[in-house]
Amino acid sequence: MPSVEVRGLTKRFGEFTAVDNVSLAIRGGEYISIIGPSGCGKTTLLRMIAGILAQDEGSIRFDGELVDSKPVEERGVGYVFQDIALFPHMSLWDNVCYGPRARGTPRERTRAVALEMLEMMKLTERHRDFPSELSGGMQQKAAVARAIAPGYKLMLLDEPLSMLDAKVRSQLRFELRAIVKDLGLTAVHVTHDQEEAMAISDRIFVMRKGSLVEHGTPAELYFRPKRLFTAHFLGESNVLPGKVLRSRRSGSEVGVGHLQLRSSQVDIEEGARVAVAIRPELIGIDHEEGVNRMRGEIESRSFEGPFVRYVLEISDDLFLRVKEPVQLGRSPRKKGDHLTLCVKPEHVRVYEFPSGGLNTEIGW
């Protein structure tokens, strides 16, 4: 279970800085996700850790040992590619055996390892097939099997599921985590799908435009994001401009439009211009008791499976998106209905108002 430490890693392509002074530490045995919008540098970062790309500045350590000078083939890192990259001219069996064979492993041992891998992925019957004969999901499982076969303890996965159907993706992600945990590997998984990251990671690193924005457990990042970008990128948030009216040790009060919302957040400056983020599913509807009450009219609604989403007009220029779990048997709420909303202070997140304006901060 190797640990991974990256310090001050930077990579430039001409004028463009793809990765900008990124430092992170991953403990042995952790399943880490790196998420961010496309172009944020997460794949470039992964490739540098693998040794496929050389960094311009910074260092990389596995288990405390510097690996910068080691070429790819000597770093001992398993890599799963976004486009799967199974060798098209070799059968599944030969693909999985490739790593051990290339490293000079004795024939018997290679055979044993390959059998074990295929068993684990439930692909034993297809071992004679060529990659083009397998479905997308099977191909990806085969690619994972191949990457683990050499016996490396560190696995890097570059958007491994992005080419697959949504259904297959949601099935495979848990399998991936299970395999990594069962084998005691350390995994770094790059994805743009925040739902995927939340489902499988011990910790998540959020990247944007080449820099690390924030990191933490899924729960930490989702319910207590420290940065506005995280609040918006992970899941969904209502983001509203506001002003701090009062700031105490026990909490604060923020003015948003005509509303006065209580937030549990402390150490924010009174009078400061802020951006407030509230998650749609954490807004309560028609509760008898509740803090931060407001009234609104349903302006639109849409069905989303387990949830129904409403857009509520609180005032002329204040709209809130609210998500409510579907409850069969209760008469559905209609457009034009008036609802009373409430939200807990700990779910009213307050951030410094971005200097470039809201659009540049949460747009891309």
């Binding site: 890599y79 098209p88 790593g99 290339a102």
Partner: protein, 546 residues
């Protein structure tokens, strides 16, 4: 008023008419079959009777068969040499990122610009006593099979490298990277992953080199001396006036070529050695920089000595002559032999233009038929296979066949030459067009259709512009190939002489001052061909879109 827009619309409306578009395709298929395919094969079959001349005559028979055998042995040897020397060079050009690699790239292209007669003469000179060998006091190489091998190597080597470079550039690097992440040393990754994936490219370039060697006539005659391969033997038989050997040799050449090519293509060769266990320490050593550097230097040396220097030395040798105002005036005046020279040049270019225009017009629908699989997968494959037939047939045999086919119709020699050149250049044009069309995704044209463009308009405004570069370079290739073509021309024409035929003639039938004349002639040819290429590249480069 006929505006361009309304013309396009009128054609477009016509193209929606399925009958009309079917007949356009039909005409292009007919063009192919009647003008290109059938004459090439039927001609010899029509004179099957005269084969008896050879079968009865033992010495003639054995001479003919050994000529054919020499052709194939020569072609095989040259192709193998090409691959062994070509792979490392192609690797360097694609993988190494130094500045001088660009220069290397350009040098490889050099022989492709040089007309083969020029190349033939320069090889003849370079290895003769007046070249570096004589300079160093070493025994010179006189015309014979050794010189032929060197010649064939020098013009097929760059072709092989070009094809390999192209295939390597297409290869997705991710597989090699994946292999390395699995622990394979660069050498292991190259031999177990990259090489097998290049199999089809290697085979394709081998076949190309093989075909070129079989076909090459003009320059071969210059350097062959007493050695006889197929084309040389046929040419000798032509000058001896014997029909039997012509038919017989052509027939055998055609049959064996076709058999070899289609067998190799069908075999789907896979360059893969079963991989059980890597010898890590050895392969790691082989991956090290030093080994690749040594391999690289050897490849470059080969390129220089066998390909570049002969041409350079020819130029140096005769440049002073060309620059001499006296001689220049004589050359340009067109007096005496130079009159023949310039009319030869005129003839070559006239033929080239006609051939290019005709082939371009009729190959486009054919390429569309094959690439877009309009008649289904199977038919496309069959058509594609048939189109390659003229490449497979050695050009001199093709010329012989053409001559016999059209002998019933009293066709002017000019058109005989045009038809034989049509046949030889057609496959290359169709192949490059098909490759270009294959690269243009069908969804572009389909989207255009759903936006309101009929099939002609969507082809003309979407696909054709995107294929413009390939079309242009295919046309240029057709033109230069036609100008270069000697074998078939020799077979079909007895009175008209294109420039290569003329120059070969001067070498084989020397007269006082002929060596100088050939030197100047080949150099002038080189210069004019470079000039044309530069002009054409400028035109095409300016039109190339982002």
């Amino acid at each position: 008023m006929w505006s361009r827009r309304s013309l396009v619309q009128w054609i477009g409306r016509l193209s929606s008419n399925r009958l009309l578009s079917s007949s356009v395709y039909g005409m292009s298929v007919l063009y192919f079959i009647l003008l290109i395919l059938l004459p090439a094969i039927l001609g010899v079959l029509m004179r099957l009777g005269s084969v008896e001349q050879v079968l009865g005559n033992q010495p003639l028979l054995s001479r003919s068969l050994s000529a054919v055998a020499s052709s194939f042995v020569l072609a095989s040897a040259v192709s193998v040499l090409d691959i062994i020397a070509g792979l490392p060079l192609a690797w360097v050009i694609v993988r190494k990122k130094a500045k001088w690699v660009r220069l290397l790239d350009a040098l490889v292209d050099l022989p492709l610009i040089v007309p083969t007669v020029t190349l033939g003469f320069s090889v003849l000179l370079f290895w003769s006593s007046s070249g570096p060998l004589g300079y160093l006091g070493l025994p010179a190489l006189s015309p014979g099979w050794v010189l032929v091998v060197l010649l064939h190597f020098s013009f097929s080597y760059p072709v092989v490298v070009r094809v390999l470079v192209g295939k390597m550039l297409e290869l997705n690097l991710v597989y090699e990277t994946a292999a390395k992440t699995l622990g394979a040393t660069p050498f292991t990754a190259a031999r177990t992953i990259t090489l097998p994936l290049l199999s089809s490219g290697v085979v394709a370039s081998l076949l190309l080199a093989f075909a070129r060697s079989l076909s090459e006539t003009g320059a071969t005659i210059m350097v062959a001396g007493a050695f006889e391969n197929g084309p040389v033997f046929i040419r000798n038989s032509l000058s001896e006036g014997l029909e039997g050997p012509l038919v017989f040799t052509s027939l055998v050449l055609i049959t064996v070529s076709v058999a070899i090519f289609y067998t190799v293509k069908a075999l789907k060769v896979n360059l893969q050695v079963p991989f059980e266990r890597a010898n890590v320490s050895l392969e790691r050593k082989l991956s090290r920089g030093k080994v690749t550097t040594v391999g690289f230097y050897v490849a470059v040396a080969i390129l220089l000595i066998f390909v570049v220097l002969p041409v350079v030395s020819l130029s140096l040798n005769y440049a002073p002559a060309v620059l001499d105002t006296e001689i220049a005036r004589e050359v340009l005046s067109g007096s005496g032999i130079w009159g023949d020279f310039w009319s030869g040049v005129l003839l070559s270019y006239a033929v080239g233009c006609v051939v290019t225009i005709l082939n371009v017009i009729f190959s486009i629908p054919m390429a569309v038929l094959i690439s877009r699989r309009k008649l289904g997968m199977m038919s496309s494959m069959i058509l594609n296979g048939l189109v390659s037939v003229p490449i497979v047939i050695p050009s001199v045999a093709l010329g012989v066949s053409m001559m016999f086919f059209w002998s019933n119709v009293s066709l002017p020699e000019f058109w005989l030459i045009v038809f034989s050149h049509l046949s030889i250049t057609y496959p290359y044009l169709v192949e490059s067009l098909v490759a270009a069309l294959d690269d243009i995704p069908t969804y572009l044209e389909e989207t255009a259709r759903t936006l309101g463009a009929d099939s002609f308009r969507s082809f003309a405004t979407i696909t054709l512009p995107l294929a413009r570069y390939s079309l242009l370079s295919g046309a240029i290739l057709t033109f230069t190939r036609s100008v270069d073509e000697t074998g078939a021309t020799l077979a079909v024409s007895s009175q008209l002489r294109t420039v290569p035929v003329l120059l070969v003639d001067w070498v084989k039938n020397p007269f006082p001052g002929s060596e100088l004349a050939v030197g100047i002639g080949t150099l002038v040819l080189l210069l004019t061909s470079i000039a044309i290429l530069v002009v054409l590249k400028k035109i095409s480069g300016g039109e190339r879109n982002a």
